[in-house]
């Protein structure tokens, strides 16, 4: 059984569809990357797993099963007992995600205390130990400091410590390194991988950076316009992308081994806003393979490597 199984999830506001039929699964210990540009619905999908959708947005249909239990059917109280214990999340902006008025040690210890796993004194000691493991120098002293006294990279380490201290089974990481510098990003990614592997924590990694995907993920799920357009094992998806969008996305990245000064490959047009999504395939207005059949919504087909396209590129499947 999958650790997380999302089936036909749809999210929207009153008259607006933002996520439309997302199906994906995460196995225990697996790193799954959810990739897409702004407005693709990747962050909303993640927030809905945690039950953290903003006011005015709701789940319109579909189920989210975690360890066989449908999270969408749980009462708030029951979901709260999973959040922070079995399910943890880290966000893009470490500084604004931490409480500016609480010592970082207390924030790391909080989930242990709230979930009754440790006494206050034990939790404090475990928090210092966890801060040490995420590479914070002088953890005893740092634990008493406020987030504002730490750098952005340090704050992200604190968030990782807080998320992983209760050894969750699933960590949702929403653009965890986007706000960080590249040398700090390399540290944080290495740290997340090592800690997750040690505790067999699965990671749902939300990112727009194909480089981060290639370094971290076992499986990739590409979203466009609120839908999954392609998903599969990382090697297959990079070697033989089957959806024209994935293919173009990979081609737009300026590569370090390419002739400088040449015109870069560019996807024509703009990312349409949800109110302007075309009927049928939502990529068809920017796609060079589109024809009249694309006015009908393509289904996600295939076994391990799945694609939703009437004119998919030839692949390995």
């Amino acid at each position: 059984m999958s650790l997380l199984a999302i089936d036909d999830l749809a999210i929207g506001a009153a008259d607006l569809s933002l996520v439309d039929g997302v199906t994906l699964s995460v196995e225990p210990g697996e790193v799954v990357a959810l990739v897409g540009e702004s407005g693709s619905g990747k962050s909303l999908t993640a927030l809905s797993i945690m039950g953290l959708l903003a006011d005015g947005l709701q789940r319109q249909r579909g189920s989210i099963e975690f360890d066989g239990v449908d999270l969408t059917q749980l009462a708030d109280e029951q979901l709260r007992s999973l959040r922070g214990a079995e399910l943890a999340m880290i966000f893009q902006e470490p500084v604004s995600s931490l409480n500016p008025l609480a010592a970082v040690g207390d924030q790391v210890a909080e989930s242990l205390i709230v979930h009754g796993r440790s006494s206050v004194a034990d939790a404090g000691r475990e928090a210092i130990d966890m801060l040490r493991r995420v590479g914070i120098p002088e953890p005893e002293r740092r634990a008493r400091q406020l987030p504002t006294e730490l750098s952005g990279g340090m704050c992200q380490r604190v968030m990782i410590a807080a998320a992983l201290i209760s050894r969750p089974r699933l960590l949702i990481a929403d653009e965890p390194t986007t706000a960080l510098d590249v040398t700090i990003q390399a540290q944080i990614l290495a740290l997340m991988s090592a800690l997750a592997e040690e505790a067999n924590t699965a990671i749902l990694l939300i990112t727009h950076d194909m480089g981060v995907v290639a370094e971290m993920a076992d499986k990739v799920c590409v979203m466009y316009g609120g839908r999954v357009v392609e998903q599969g094992p990382v090697e297959a998806l990079f070697a033989t992308p089957r959806h024209p969008y994935t293919n173009m996305l990979l081609k737009t990245i300026p590569r370090l081994d390419e002739e400088p000064g040449q015109e870069l490959f560019a996807i024509p047009g703009n990312v349409p806003s949800p109110r302007d999504w075309p009927v049928g395939c939502r990529f068809r207005t920017r796609c060079d393979r589109a024809d009249e059949t694309c006015a009908e919504r393509p289904a996600l087909t295939g076994q391990l490597h799945q694609v939703a396209c009437h004119h998919a590129l030839r692949g390995d499947a």
Partner: protein, 331 residues
């Protein structure tokens, strides 16, 4: 012949109040001795991580940051010596594109009004302006039908095109591009980079390109300067610096870029630097990189290394990699 832009030994130091009640003063050396030259039709990139001083260097050229010491010469004129009129003439030739097109545009003005503004300030007549705005919109790939739209009705990529059109209005010679694509979606980034490269070819522009994304810089820049804690630690032709980095920081920076190829995940040698950037308020003595450098020796903490020539066009500031034997050069 003088360069289009010549920055010589630029220092930008900011006083900051520290201590519990702001009673004591110290100094942040945001830029501490930077020299950069840009020729006509050339793109020079400054790369580095947050706090390295790359944006402050650009701001100093634009007059948006106070120059503590050093000279900035544009077309042979020392910018510090200019009066108000002289400065306004310089602004015709020197323009800027910032990272975030949303905050760079007035949300209540139409696109045409935003693009026309520099022309109005410089006293062009209405008829000329109308024609020039249409021409500029065409040049950056905007449909002139959109002239009466407001920024809110545009996508991020279209807004950045408006910002570029406005920067081009007065036919500048140099544009300072401060992270021009980092706020844009990946699929839009290459459209804007292609536009910038095409405009350079067609109009003979020069760019001072400030960025943290090295794969973008490698693609667009002729020369690159790598900054760390207010100093240039390596400088040279982009192709050379990327293929054969000399400074250990440049090396680490390049190896930290996540490459979009899962096959390289295990084979590639990665240098993961330890620790954070030191605070620019309290920089290490000697080499600025000494606290994180895998090659550091005790002597590195003693004196700041000079920018030494690795080859005719390539310079690095590292006493381990470029021992001081050659003639010392400071540009």
């Amino acid at each position: 012949m003088s360069s289009l832009l010549q920055i010589s030994d630029l220092k930008v130091h900011f006083p900051v109040r520290t201590g519990r009640f702001g009673g004591s003063q110290s100094v942040v050396k945001a830029v501490d001795g930077v020299s950069i030259r840009i020729e006509q039709n050339e793109t020079v990139a400054i790369v580095g991580e947050s706090g390295c001083g790359k944006s402050t260097t650009g701001n100093a050229v634009l007059g948006l940051a106070p120059v503590t010491a050093g000279r900035i010469e544009f077309q042979g004129q020392d910018l510090a010596s200019l009066n108000a009129k002289g400065r306004r003439d310089v602004w015709r030739d020197l323009q800027v594109i910032f990272q975030d097109p949303v905050s760079a545009l007035n949300p209540r003005r139409t696109i045409a009004q935003s693009i026309a503004e520099p022309l109005q300030i410089h006293g062009h007549d209405e008829r000329q302006i109308e024609a020039r705005v249409d021409e500029l919109m065409g040049l950056v790939g905007l449909n002139p039908d959109q002239r009466d739209r407001r920024p809110g009705a545009l996508s991020g990529g279209q807004r950045q095109r408006v910002v570029i059109a406005r920067a081009l209005a007065l036919s500048p010679k140099l544009i300072i591009c401060d992270e021009p694509v980092s706020a844009l979606d990946v699929s839009i980034q290459s459209q804007i980079l292609n536009l910038l490269m095409r405009l350079q070819r067609e109009l003979g522009l020069s760019y001072l390109f400030i960025a943290h994304d090295l794969s973008v810089v490698r693609h667009i820049a002729d020369r690159v300067a790598v900054m760390y804690l207010g100093m240039v630690v390596e400088e040279g032709p982009a192709a050379t610096v990327f293929a054969n980095p000399v400074h250990p920081y440049t090396e680490a920076l390049l190896s930290a870029i996540p490459l979009p190829d899962p096959a390289l995940r295990h084979s590639r040698r990665k240098i993961v630097l330890e620790g954070d950037l030191p605070s620019p308020m309290n920089p290490p003595s000697g080499c600025p990189f000494v606290t994180r450098c895998p090659l550091a020796e005790p002597a590195c903490a003693e004196a700041r290394p000079a920018l030494e020539a690795v080859s005719a066009q390539h310079f690095a500031r590292c006493r381990v990699r470029v021992p001081i034997t050659r003639e010392s050069q400071d540009c």
